[in-house]
Amino acid sequence: MNDIVSELERRRIEARSGGGAKRVATQHSKGKLTARERIELLLDENSFEEFDMFVTHRCTDFGMEQTKFSGDGVVTGWGTINGRMVYVFSQDFTVFGGSLSETHAAKICKIMDMAVQNQAPVIGLNDSGGARIQEGVASLAGYAEVFQRNILASGVIPQISVIMGPCAGGAVYSPAMTDFIFMVQDSSYMFVTGPDVVKTVTNEIITAEELGGASTHTTKSSVADGAYSNDVETLAEVRRFFDFLPLNNKDKSPTRPFYDDPGRIEHSLDTLAPENPNVPYDMKELILKIADEGDLFEIKENFAKNIITGFIRLEGTTVGVVANQPMVLAGCLDIDSSRKAARFVRFCDSFDIPLLTLVDVPGFLPGTSQEYGGIIVHGAKLLFAFGEATVPKVTVITRKAYGGAYDVMSSKHLRGDYNYAWPSAQIAVMGAKGAVEILYRSEINDSELVKQRTEEYEDRFANPFVAAEKGFIDEVIMPHSTRLRVCRAFATLRNKKAQNPWKKHDNIPL
């Protein structure tokens, strides 16, 4: 018996040493942590329980039977983040470059199955050179097994991917199908085909960082939801992020003690929206002043900045925020912002996270690039997402709500629960200038008359009353009491029950 215990100890030590001291040192010299070290930082101290530590690959081609490492390049198991359960896998770059073998995939699949069964999220820490080439199709099969589980788990448990090294080729599609992707700046990259292949096929010369680094994916491609400066900061932020998420689709938004007054009055908001509708202001100030403790976790912060998406807490409970940002492109809806917001709204709805929508939208961005790019379909995504969402929905129109974009932004007509407007709100088909040009086309050359018509139009529509008279706005609220009103609104919606008709699944315009 003692022999077995000491053999266990020996095997554990061997497994924990990963690919060996030399490779670990190389990993460290790149400013990267090992798979196990990352798990240590991600999870509560001493909470990690490992599975399949002694699993090794079964490949016998290319002399592979000679080199085996316990664990086969991935560390899997479960632990807690602030006491809440989470399943984790962490690829070990020091073992076969973290490449994915049949057994490596099987380990990931095992914890994913358990996560779905036990209703806890999965976090994957990706650091892998790709498929284990020696295993051929067995490796590809392994990927597909993981993909299938990503798909089935989608909308059941939150899935988070953290890219902490290479993630290339087929490997990208597992993160791509998870709910959120975070990256580490300067030491991670993701692409379907790497710089070498790109050069061969298209003659483009580009670095891995430029092609698929954190900056590319957070600003250009929108593949990633956020990026942080190094492994340690990234894992700290993932912990912070995790606290916003429910554990599964039957769980409520998490709640925690908060140190802020739900009735906090912010007089400065009375001067936030400038009277001149063409002068921008920073919508983030409103979000921070509504949120508990001024705490916002932004999603896709550096992509399509004309819309803000992120998580805040109200009275300690997570709420998703979607807000037009007048500082960028006047806060209009375009292809990128519609896609960004639509995906965010659908995540919130999947996991029963209430939605707060802050509206200052002049309409859709005109232009050939938008039309050719399919703004019709992409704009419809956001419309669809808001319309199908059954979570508590509170909307505040701060200034402009023009045209179709008004409908889209969680309007009353899309089953908005509480739709408020500030006194500065203007709810209309379009701005005065455009409207007068169409309504009074024959008078267009008479500048005096145009001026008068514009004033008439503004008097009629440059206020929230027309919409309020029709009941499209539930109440006009003072900006300074926005936090109070929004908190109270969500408080009444805690037991909201709403359902969509039975369907196999919807057919959102993808």
């Binding site: 460290h28 400013g31 990267k32 942590l33 070290e37 240590e40 930082l41 509560d44 101290e45 909470s47 807690t80 602030n82 006491g83 809440r84 359960m85 300067d186 942080y228 400066s229 190094n230 492994d231 340690v232 900061e233 700290a236 932020e237 912070r240 606290d243 429910p246 554990l247 769980d251 409520k252 998490p254 709640t255 925690r256 003690p257 908060f258 140190y259 802020d260 007089h267 400065s268 908001l269 009375d270 001067t271 936030l272 921008p280 202001y281 920073d282 100030e285 508990d292 403790e293 001024g294 705490d295 500082m327 960028v328």
Partner: protein
Amino acid sequence: MFEKILIANRGEIACRVIKSAKSLGIKTVAIYSEADKNSLHVQMADEAVFIGPPPVNQSYILIDNIIEAIAKTGADAVHPGYGFLSENSQFAKRLEEVGITFIGPPVKAIEAMGDKIASKKIAHESGVSTVPGYLGEINSSEHALEIACEIGFPVMIKASAGGGGKGMRIAWDKEGVAEGYQSSRNEASSSFGDDRLLIEKFITSPRHIEIQVLGDKHGNFVYLNERECSIQRRNQKVIEEAPSPFLNQNTRKAMGNQAVSLAKAVDYFSAGTVEFIVDSDQNFYFLEMNTRLQVEHPVTELITGVDLVKEMINVADGKELSLTQEQVGIDGWAFESRVYAEDPRRNFLPSIGRITKYSPPAEFNDGTNAIRNDTGVFEGGEISVHYDPMIAKLCTWSNDRLSAIDTMRKALDSFEIEGITSNISFLSAVFDHSKFISGDITTGFIEEEFAEGFSGVEHSEETIERIASCVTMMHRFSEIRRTRISGRLANHMRKVGNDWIARINQTELNISLDPFVNGCRVNVNNARELTITSTWTPGKTLAEFDIGGDQIQLRVKPISEGYHIEYRGAELDVLVRTGRQQELGSYMKEKELPDTSKYLLCPMPGLITEIHVSVGDKVEEGQPLSTVEAMKMENVLKASRKGTIKSIAVSPGSSLTVDQVILEFE
């Protein structure tokens, strides 16, 4: 007594005047430009009249518009504040013509003291000590040289109509005179349209000390002692105090008496200030007389208990002064910090925009210490490009100078301003400067002590340890809160430990906490023990701590793994980690900050209206590169160095945030 006073000013001074008028039961009228619609002075006044577009010369200094506003509201007196029309004799005359009382000195006194040469002559004649110099006009370079030799070097050549350092040159020797004469003259003519110059002795190690005088229409005069305003940056006063730490009683009395005789000589009444320059031997020389209420008047009010605005109103109404010279004393010590919207770390570049947070220290006076904060802004208000970027005049008073300094330090610590950048960190640095504390100051203090500009204060090891301990406590508190989230695995709670490593810059401190209710006994590096209590909770941006009886206040903002701290002129990122987190954290590479000298960065949030150069262009220093429209103002960004344009990152129409790259040099 007047029924209604119109205040022909804006900002904090308008608010200040309104307060005193209200306490006298007088109704007030504010005037405002388009940019000031929502201003504090408009909210505070009983009535407000719109007087024109934002630029000063289309609103606040348009005499006709103000006369109209008076007529409209039926005001019977006008307080001009400082700046704007306060020393404009035309304005005072016009008021006289329409039978409205000007709450200020007589027209003749304004005129007499408004001209630098004329005022010097009068001063000289009335026995006021003046800087050795030539009181006539200089008509040639040779003439200048002749006079300079008579006076003795160094000499100062300056514009007769000048102010604010424009048209001012110092000549240290004969060669310098010709050169200084020419450039002074050019500058004077282009800045003031008046190229008259004067020459006087240049005083080395000078202090700027001024005497507050007050007179009534019955020939009574008092002087309310001095204010020292030596802490200046580019001739702009930054910190003032009363009394001066330098004057002895005899000098004070001599200066006071001379100031009063000058005031008498011009039949002065109302409040006025006689400015002197004082050398290291307490020789003092008349500089000029300001025929208005000064910005820094609160320090005098704090040590004398006199409400200067009230006195001005009463005097204008024909009443006698409320006190005699014998009743004027010096009670305690007062400081004023001018809190400006400017970025001391970027060479004091003005910082305009919306004030998203404005939380000044609370005003109080408990008989031992006092805080007074004169302000014209509010949270949600705006610092506009059109006006002086002053946010507030933060004043403290205590029984003695060191206590008043300490009160000021604490007041500055707890002053929260966000949305715009303020000079609070710089003010804190001055109040912590040993030379300043010792009172060893001259008008060259800032130029000499901050010769390389301001880049933040480096705190002592002990202060760093205290900050680290406080932040560690905050971190522990917020970590414990995190463990109280819903949905936990029952009975398997995360335990938050008490041993931490705080990391500031490159320094690591081992911090062990031994918590009790609302506090901890703290052990730092096994070497120092502290007992710290605090009622801070997450979300509070001002964290207050009691460290063994010392109160400290940190401005805090959460960052990954810790907090960003602002304290006494320093900005620090404090990371708090467990031993293991630190061990692993040590593998992280320090990232080099990108070299921004090769870039033109957008200095403020705004819209690019024009790019004046194209890729490949060779540009000279000072050449316009791009125009950014911010707050409706066009700001031309110029090349700070010679170079070739490598790439342009934005195009006209792009809206940029602060520090966004506009273009790159080769």
